[in-house]
Symmetry: C2
Subunit: 229 residues, 2 copies
């Protein structure tokens, strides 16, 4: 009988977390070296099982915290993977989540203690199970999302140079963007605040720092602003 709750099969439900970060080397992703079987010692996404009294969004937050110490990271659901043998131990369906975070803000030490490591997305090692697939799916989603609304907020430090924002976009979209066109397009969105402060570390002239104007950003989100580079 199709709809008998009592006879229906139950399965293990897992979550896997894809965490993007950004630094001077470009776009990065956070991985852990598995300390348990199967595939012990291999690189993997942070994953774990859903609990009976837990919502998937919360499970993703909990699992990420367990493996990295990262707190209260807001993640978006990506896709649910259900290939029969995706996990060799037992049939497990996995719901992938992804998030964008600021590497600097999120204590590198803590991540060290937990054996997590940042990898450039262009140099990701072979991952366990179907995690490669999840990752490439997440990158596609991130690219799409970037074309729908600005992404800098989550990935950049509080104060950043225009050239960092440009580099972030170039990393995500994996292409060169004309500096002048980029700046005028970003400025036309009117969501950045130019500070009086300059960053003197990377050039003789120094470069102005910016912050996001969260209020204006939120106001515009409702209107679905789009960027097309």
């Amino acid at each position: 009988m199709l709809n008998s709750y009592s006879t229906a099969d139950k399965v293990l439900l897992a979550v896997d977390c894809i965490i993007f970060g950004f630094d001077e080397d470009g776009l990065k992703i956070l991985l852990i070296k598995r300390d348990f079987e199967p595939e012990k010692g291999k690189w993997s996404l942070m994953g774990g099982f859903l609990k009976k009294e837990e919502v998937l969004d919360d499970a993703a937050i909990r699992v990420l915290n367990t493996y990295t110490g990262l707190q209260d990271i807001y993640m978006e659901q990506l896709y649910t993977y259900s290939e029969i043998d995706r996990d060799p131990v037992e049939r497990t369906v996995s719901v992938a989540y992804y998030a964008l975070i600021n590497i600097e803000n999120h204590n590198a030490e803590l991540i060290q203690n937990y054996h997590a490591k940042w990898f450039s997305v262009s140099e990701v090692p072979k991952l366990i199970f179907d995690h490669d697939n999840m990752l490439s799916h997440a990158i596609r989603r991130l690219r799409y999302r970037t074309s729908m609304r600005p992404v800098g907020f989550e990935l950049l430090p509080e104060k950043f140079k225009m050239s960092q924002l440009l580099k972030l976009y170039e990393s995500i979209l994996d292409k060169q963007i004309d500096k002048r066109n980029f700046i005028s397009k970003i400025n036309s969105l009117d969501i950045l605040i130019k500070l009086d402060e300059k960053d003197m570390t990377s050039s003789r002239k120094g470069s102005y720092l910016y912050t996001f104007d969260k209020e204006k950003y939120d106001a515009k989100l409702l209107n679905h602003f789009a960027l097309n580079f």
Copy 2:
């Protein structure tokens, strides 16, 4: 222990199917009247449980077939819903799928026999559980998808009038579209074949029929064509 397969909770995993159709009244959705508890007699999406040796995509196809007789409908995964009490009987996580189908091609009789019924999306009754939420999510997705690539293929009959295609777009996007701009934009995509045949049923002058050029469409899909109305 976080990663012990043996002690992890297992949950019921369901699929729910959101089927869109289109006819002279506009955009429609297929619902069934539940013939089992709970919520017997209420309108609902077609849903059922995942089997142990089954992939989610296949489960969605099977469940849809069981309730409607529809065969081999390709569905896309939408989102996974996991609120604790979303199903009052037992904790059930549900993966929603959606598809676009041609109402005429899919035998109304068969659907009758199975107690399924088409509803205009603007006149959908209250649905069980969180199915309203799934539906509104699916409509959002359909709108987005429509702005990314043409949708007519799946929803229209083999041969159709330009005015039907226009109406389809207006139904999905829920706004008026200028006829001349629509036609020139569609034509610029170069994926329609204008037939010599005319449909004489709706006007004295008659209107030319079109079909999709599947080859050109597939070729362009690779280039991610976008429409912006």
